[in-house]
């Protein structure tokens, strides 16, 4: 561990004169002089902006339906709050494990980096497992999206959120499987990939932080 885990490499700036024949995408590791951030980070923030719009439309729909409805159930009376609380802790915990993975990769500790990536992936499985129990129970009580507007919004919002969790898990699995290869050859780029995937994962956590009280508690 050299304490300078994030070090540049010549190809980062598209230098073709270093004996490379392939065309490399510039600024994959180091900040562009005009934006101040590397391309991947700007890309993920723009993507997250579009995600805010996607979930924002659903939150807006929920607010409109709830304020317009003659009556609206309290989530805490019909949904499983203890399970959802555990899921909140699982997701918050996974946000910490992914950022610890990134921190240890910056420290040059691949072993711990991979361990925390694996823990993040396991948290994802844990979250989905609990969600599956919740859905199964609801289905067994004949509470489907078609039951009423409450369940329609509950299934759409938690379902879309669950799809985002699955998406993040696929990326974490890919990062884990390719960690040895990429960390050995393009360490900084791999570390940045973990950072931007982490940003996405934190957003998924952030959405749940609002879904939990709105759907389950209020």
């Amino acid at each position: 561990m050299d304490g300078h885990a994030l070090t540049p490499h010549a190809g980062d700036h598209g230098d073709a004169h270093a004996g490379h024949h392939e065309i490399e995408i510039p600024y994959t590791v180091h900040p562009r002089p005009d934006t101040g951030v590397y391309n991947g980070k700007l890309g993920i923030w723009l993507f997250l902006a579009s995600e805010v719009m996607l979930f924002g439309a659903l939150f807006s729909t929920l607010v409109l339906l709830r304020t317009s409805a003659p009556s609206w159930p309290h989530g805490k009376e019909i949904l499983n709050v203890p399970l959802a609380t555990v899921n909140t802790f699982v997701l918050i915990g996974s946000s910490v494990t992914v950022i610890l993975a990134w921190a240890y990769l910056r420290l040059g500790d691949l072993k711990k980096g991979k361990l925390f990536l694996l823990l993040t992936l396991l948290c994802g499985f844990g979250f989905l497992g609990i969600k599956t129990i919740e859905y199964t129970t609801k289905f067994s009580h004949h509470q489907f999206p078609s039951t009423n507007n409450f369940f329609a919004t509950y299934y759409v919002m938690t379902g879309l959120h669950g799809l985002h969790v699955i998406g993040g898990m696929i990326v974490f699995a890919y990062l884990l499987l390719t960690a040895d290869k990429w960390y050995g050859t393009k360490r900084d780029q791999f570390t940045n990939r973990v950072e931007v995937t982490g940003l996405y994962w934190h957003f998924v956590d952030l959405v749940w932080i609002f879904l939990f009280p709105i759907l389950y508690l209020l």
């Binding site: 719009m53 009556s71 956590d205």
Partner: protein, 150 residues
Amino acid sequence: MSSNASEHVSHEHPVDHGHDDHGSVHDGHDNSPEAIKKEIRRYLLVLGALGTLTLVTVGISRLHLPSWEAIALGLAVATIKGSLVAAFFMHLISERKLIFGVLAFTVFFFAMLLWGPWHHHYDAEREWPGHDKTNKPAAAAPANQHGSSH
């Protein structure tokens, strides 16, 4: 990676990376081992705060407060939790201006998403007063007996 490469980059891209005395700084992040270990401690503190606030959120829901007070309090706590995640885990506390520019647009359009349907809804209530009487938000009832059933 060699220090030569490091120098090469910093000369080629005169971006202010927020260098300080701690060591290597990359994209706004201080990558010296001391700084990273300090960051890790901070992340664990934030984890503790988020866990505590989650319990507070659950506690608020058990207080049997009036509906709108419970919603306001619950959303306030969720906003604090979300701010902690955004500030520390997503590093907004030390992010570049461009990212804040992207976020400003996002917040504006998100606010429009919320405001648009509400504006239309209350406009409709003014136009058709009867609509107002029948569509008051009401207290909870058993799930399969209310809501706008399909």
